[in-house]
């Protein structure tokens, strides 16, 4: 499936080129016009009548950026987008366009004192080892500002589950492509935006240009269905269908649009769940805060272990999310 190529591709915020190329090639078969704007967003227009709809997914993923060289030839780095300090140690990464392999090092356990063993280390205590012997050698291979992604490869596992990196939001990109394959009456703009993970920067510009009536955001979202978490904290659960957001820190989602989506889900027997958390944010914030504003809603695929080196999602949820969005769009215009 296309999601495999999208998940394996590198594309941290500001460096979405590889992902953009895959998507551009794919969507041009299904839409009337493909534009890449100055920020690097892809705007795929499928012309129609009736209301103007943005269907949004973001191309960027969370990763790292190289910030300095150590004397021994290892690299200093920092997160680009929100990656918790607990995530980096003992992971393998790819650096820059040439995908140079690196290992994120950590002080050996026998040298850590009691306090160090218990606490979470900070980025300044980590380094990336690319197997070089000197600062000079490293400087020839890696430039400051080079981007870094995890080396996780996509695969299916378990019963109908998939694992891989960057499901937030390549899973949204893959669904958006599936949606654009269908035909609708309404005027649809598929936007594949850049720089969501650093504050929805790309989405502001594509929305400003389009001025939609409604913006539907497709996301890979937080999922907390682990055994030690009480029910009320389980924002979403895997296998229970697409999650419809009620509110987050960036938007109060249109109850009118959300209700219509839920109505379609019930009519078409598509399972759905509500995203029972008001934390986080997504491109919806930018869509309704640019130009004349818009009504916004979010439909997400629950992804376990999001914003880390590997996420887990359900193929059923993926398919149901595709179906729900397609059925909803068919009712417009």
């Amino acid at each position: 499936m296309l999601l495999e190529a999208l998940s394996n591709a590198s594309g941290v915020s500001g460096y979405e080129g590889e992902v953009r190329n895959i998507i551009k090639e794919e969507v041009k078969k299904y839409v009337d016009e493909v534009i890449v704007n100055r920020m690097g967003n892809i705007i795929a227009h499928k012309k129609g009548n009736g209301p103007k709809i943005i269907i949004d997914a973001h191309m960027d993923e969370v990763g790292f950026i190289i910030t300095g060289y150590n004397e021994d030839g290892t690299l200093r780095f920092h997160s680009l987008g929100g990656i918790n300090n607990k995530i980096p140690p003992a992971k393998v990464v790819f650096i820059g366009k040439n995908r140079i392999t690196g290992v994120i090092g950590i002080k050996p356990i026998h040298l850590q004192n009691k306090k160090e063993k218990e606490k979470c280390m900070s980025y300044s205590e980590y380094c990336i080892d690319i197997g070089a012997n000197s600062k000079e050698e490293t400087k020839r291979l890696v430039k400051l500002g080079d981007n870094v992604v995890f080396n996780t490869m996509f695969s299916e596992f378990g019963k109908g589950l998939i694992k891989g990196k960057a499901f937030d939001d390549r899973i949204g990109c893959a669904i958006l492509i599936e949606v654009l394959k269908e035909n609708f009456n309404c005027d649809i703009y598929g936007t594949f935006n850049v720089q969501e993970e650093v504050g929805e920067r790309g989405a502001y510009t594509s929305s400003f240009a389009i001025n939609p009536d409604i913006g539907i955001v497709i996301e890979g979202t937080v999922c907390a269905d682990m055994p030690n978490i009480p029910d009320y904290k389980k924002a979403t659960e895997i296998g229970k269908g697409p999650a419809i957001s009620i509110m987050d820190e960036s938007s109060l989602f249109s109850s009118q649009v959300s209700r219509e989506i839920i109505k379609i889900a019930k009519e078409k027997n598509i399972p759905y769940q509500l995203r029972k958390s008001i934390a986080g944010g997504n491109d919806g914030g930018a869509i309704h805060m640019s130009g004349k504003g818009a009504k916004v809603a979010t439909i997400s695929v629950p992804c376990r272990y999001i914003h880390s080196s590997v996420s887990v999602a359900s193929l059923e949820d993926y398919k149901n999310t595709c179906n729900l969005i397609i059925e909803y769009l068919k009712t417009l215009g």
Partner: protein, 313 residues
């Protein structure tokens, strides 16, 4: 008690669910000649008069509230906050859902709950579900020396002032816009979109500001001592021209004003950065105990604000 004001404060109007307030305002505008538009975010944009200059007055319709995130097997309803306010200021009071369901708001370890007196989840779900919105409830009274006590005075008072202002306008030689905005309590989200469309030269926001004349008060603002020229807050520095306009009008009508630098947020914060930029400032009305079910505002402050704003047109 003024009937219009009473209707406004009793209307359901939490951020994002401003429909009832909007309807009251629309109804009230029927008597005057104006153009009324509602935009995608639910803002009500009212235009009066013709001319070269464009001036906008803005008051937000929405109030703080609560959104249901989870319903316990026991029937207790977990809610999150809509807006930026202190939980301890609002608890142990009545709240009402949009469908009329009443409940008690309570707090346990930083988690807000609503108890609607139904002790099983499935039966609660027949009246309230996740994503539903609740508002503070209380009654509206006149108390003491020309004071009003009620929930949701923030910012139905602003809406009331704008409506009174609009009704009193005659023979105007400029385009005057009244913006009744949405989602202020979430960071001026509605006002921004409307400002983008209207693109006025001047904007005056009318909102409430905490009065510090109580025990533990944190500023010099006194109830009943006149409207506030809010020089600066977290999101906006009052434009010099607006400040001069307000001061001139106050002087002309011999009105007492107060000055304030505050830590609050204004709709002006998003408005003044839109398009080519908008000269923006806020005239605030002193309010004791802002963001709780018993806010107090003085009637003379309201009347003085109307006089002062009238002087600008």
């Amino acid at each position: 008690m003024d009937k219009l004001l009473n209707n406004l404060v009793n209307a359901f109007g939490v951020s994002g669910s401003e429909g009832d307030v909007r309807n009251i305002i629309k109804e009230e505008l029927k008597d005057i000649q104006c153009i009324v538009n509602e935009d995608k975010l639910g803002n009500l944009i009212v235009k009066l008069g013709e001319g070269q200059e464009k001036i906008m007055f803005c008051a937000h319709m929405d109030s703080i509230g609560f959104i249901v995130t989870f319903i316990e097997e026991s029937g207790l309803i977990r809610v999150g906050k809509i807006g930026d306010f202190s939980s301890s200021d609002v608890i142990n009071n009545l709240v009402r859902f949009k469908n009329g369901t009443l409940g008690k708001l309570t707090l346990n370890k930083e988690q807000l709950f609503i108890d609607i007196g139904v002790d099983r989840k499935d039966r609660v779900m027949q009246v309230v579900t996740e994503g539903d919105i609740a508002s503070l409830v209380g009654s509206c009274h006149e108390i003491g020396e020309e004071n009003i006590i009620s929930p949701n005075l923030d910012n139905r008072i602003g809406c009331y002032i704008l409506l009174r202002l609009a009704k009193g306008l005659k023979n105007i030689d400029k385009e005057v816009y009244f913006l009744f905005s949405t989602q202020h309590e979430l960071g001026g989200r509605g006002a921004r979109a409307a400002a983008h469309v209207i693109s006025p030269e001047y904007c005056i926001v009318v909102d409430l500001e905490e009065a510090g004349d109580v025990f533990g008060g944190k500023n010099n603002i006194k109830l009943g001592k006149g409207p506030i020229i809010k020089v600066m807050d977290k999101t906006l520095i009052m434009h010099e021209d607006i400040k001069k306009m307000l001061e001139k009008s106050a002087e002309k009508s011999k009105l007492q004003v107060q000055y304030l630098v505050s830590n609050s947020k204004s709709d002006g914060g998003t408005i003044h950065k839109e398009g080519l930029g908008i000269k923006t400032g806020e005239l605030s009305i002193p309010c004791r105990y802002k963001h709780c079910f018993s806010e107090i505002v003085n009637i003379k402050d309201i009347e003085d604000s109307i006089k002062l704003l009238k002087g600008l047109i």
